[in-house]
Symmetry: C2
């Protein structure tokens, strides 16, 4: 199942650390603060544990930091729309583009 | 059905205009560049037309600007996880919070 992760993180180091974890789990950057990719349930759980541990332990963490992990089933993904000339969302079947 | 809208927009005026349209359609800000709320199919279509028109016409638009409209069915939303002390995601049934 696809997973979308979006985040608001104030500290540069913590934000970079978050992005590194997301890359390590095979997710691809789809916007500046958004990653997505295909992860099974176990890997999603492991990713969440890793991100929660980083948020809990990092000295740069702030009360306003937030990370959302949002699964997208096939039906939801099929209904997603992307506006812009350089949109990208990973799909092992086909890359999806829509030019405004 | 819930709709999540995330965006990367470089120009301040265009970014503000995008946020204004999202608010006008009743969506709530859930992160700095992310809004969400409940919209039926017709309203989702109207929102997309409005955002696409803004991107097409605004003199501050850049080729790197992008707006993703992502529907979340009840099952996907039920599986979503939110990390952080001040997470927020609109839900007419109950506000969802999770403290790390």
């Amino acid at each position: 199942m696809k997973l979308l992760v979006i985040y608001d993180i104030g500290d540069n180091s913590l934000r970079l650390g978050t992005a590194e974890i997301l890359k390590d789990f095979g997710l691809a950057r789809v916007q500046y603060s958004a990653f997505a990719g295909d992860l099974n349930h176990n890997r999603r759980d492991m990713l969440e544990i890793s991100l929660a541990a980083l948020l809990r332990r990092h000295r740069g963490a702030r009360s306003t930091d937030r990370i959302y992990l949002l699964p997208l089933c096939d039906d939801c993904f099929a209904s997603a729309h992307f506006l812009g000339e350089r949109t990208h969302f990973p799909d092992h079947r086909v890359d999806r583009w829509k030019v405004v």
